[in-house]
């Protein structure tokens, strides 16, 4: 059900407070415009709109904005720049007093990384020390509303698999609402992604995307 900011959801009764809610005198209210989710263990609101606010564990696509002495600042499509320390990006030993870090990543490079730390005053640290993280060469970036990302991925990745199969494109989706597309048919793939963003609330989406891509 759609709830508005300030709307009373339920008594707390010792349950966990999820995202998008606040508590006052044992009563739980919605904080943002969204869809309420009240279960036996948790009360939360899934927002319908809003900018991306980073949280630890998210996989995001970022663009290197500046090269520093011991790392990089990365634009992750949010109000805060993320920092990528040297040790979280490069395996080998690097002598920072002699080496120019732009030989690893230069401004404008696109990376697929994971957010490892977000402090209270929103200092964000990202890391590339896992298998999935990589530098993305070529391709184009598409920005969508971050809250539509689960729709674009689909149940168990069904939607994104469909688009990948039909267009033979390479696609990476960041939870910050940035999508990277590379391939000959990227125009079609982008069209499909934007269609999902626009029409995600209308039932029968997968069939429509399928039809659009087959035509």
């Amino acid at each position: 059900m759609i709830v508005l900011p300030g709307e009373f959801l339920d008594e707390r009764k010792g349950r966990k407070l999820g995202k998008g809610v606040y508590e006052e005198n044992g009563k739980v209210f919605a904080k943002v415009l969204g869809l309420s989710k009240i279960t036996d263990t948790e009360v939360s609101v899934i927002p319908l709109s809003g900018t991306y606010l980073p949280s630890a564990g998210d996989r995001v696509i970022g663009v290197i904005s500046t090269v520093e002495i011991a790392g990089w600042f990365v634009d992750i499509n949010s109000p805060y720049l993320a920092f990528l320390p040297l040790g979280e990006a490069v395996e080998e030993f690097v002598d920072t007093s002699r080496v120019d870090l732009s030989k690893y990543f230069d401004t404008g490079d696109v990376i697929f990384c994971r957010i490892v730390k977000v402090t209270k005053s929103k200092n964000v640290v990202v890391s590339m020390r896992d298998m999935a993280s990589r530098k993305l060469y070529g391709g184009v970036l598409v920005k969508v509303t971050p809250h539509k990302v689960p729709r674009i991925i689909g149940k168990g990745g069904s939607m994104i698999q469909l688009i990948k199969q039909k267009t033979k494109c390479e696609i990476y989706v960041g939870q910050n609402g940035v999508i990277w597309v590379k391939g000959e048919n990227k125009g079609k793939a982008i069209e499909a992604i934007l269609m999902v963003e626009r029409e995600s609330h209308i039932p029968g989406l997968t069939e429509r995307v399928d039809r659009m891509l087959s035509s």
Binding site: M1, I2, L4, P5, G6, E7, F8, G20, Y22, F29, K31, V32, L33, G34, P47, L48, S49, G50, T51, L53, P79, Y80, L81, K120, S121, K122, H147, H201, I202
Partner: protein, 238 residues
């Protein structure tokens, strides 16, 4: 601007309203596709258009607050909004109203959720016929909600005043210019908290209290209309 006219004829106002009657109100959300959230509010002939951007990065850096975000509001009357062309750009009045509207909206927003960042609110008055600041606040709070900014409650506002000894609601342009007193009230109706209270003219204590309860009552009516406006937009989504 004061004119010598009777504002109340046989208990009815110049536009045929009863003293405690609001003008026809219409509200629309997400009217500007490039903004994060936007809304248009019409109170009779007054039209306010609000757009919200953010939370977004805030520069220059000395404006940033370490523990909380900030809200910036700009109130602007477009040149063709009034009878005689208003010269464009900020003037003394709009700078003051920008601040007043910011103070009215700030208590409703969870600023601590986006430290070092800023939410920008732009309110443009396309057509002015009295009560522009309350129309602006109503539009701004709708736009904030649509932009997904975390809020305690929606902010609803309405103006009340006194003409020829009678207490009235929602002043239009002529009444505003000729009133004995007028008061702008903004509140979070769900929590029954007042966020803005401004008064001009002379009133006694009893009248102030009566006007306040009148304003409270009408803010609740506007609150319902605001909620309806947002629900209308997302109806197909349920």
């Amino acid at each position: 601007m004061k004119k010598d006219i009777k504002l109340l004829v046989e208990g009815k106002r110049l536009d045929g309203r009863l003293p405690d009657q609001l003008r026809p109100i219409s509200m629309k959300v997400d009217v500007i596709s490039r903004a994060d959230g936007s809304a248009e509010v019409r109170l009779g002939n007054t039209i306010a258009l609000a757009s919200v951007y953010g939370p977004r990065a805030l520069y220059p850096k000395f404006l940033q607050e370490e523990e909380s975000g900030i809200v910036r509001v700009r109130y602007n009357m477009v040149p063709f909004s009034v009878d005689e062309r208003k010269s464009p750009g900020p003037d003394r009045r709009s700078i003051e109203l920008s601040k007043v509207m910011r103070l009215a909206l700030e208590p409703a927003i969870f600023l601590e959720d986006f430290p070092k960042a800023a939410v920008d609110v732009f309110v443009d008055i396309l057509q002015a016929d009295g009560s522009t600041r309350v129309a602006g606040i109503n539009a701004a709070s709708l736009a904030l909600a649509c932009a997904g900014v975390p809020m305690r409650d929606l902010v609803s506002a309405c103006s009340v005043g006194k003409i020829e000894g009678t207490l009235i609601v929602d002043l239009n342009g002529i009444e505003d210019n000729n009133s004995e007193s007028d008061m702008a009230v903004a509140m979070m109706p769900g929590r029954d908290e007042i966020t803005l209270l401004q008064m001009d003219g002379e009133l006694n204590k009893d009248e102030v209290l009566r006007l306040l309860s009148l304003a409270r009552e009408n803010c609740k009516k506007i609150y319902e209309l605001q909620k309806q406006a947002i629900r209308e937009k997302y109806k197909s989504g349920e």
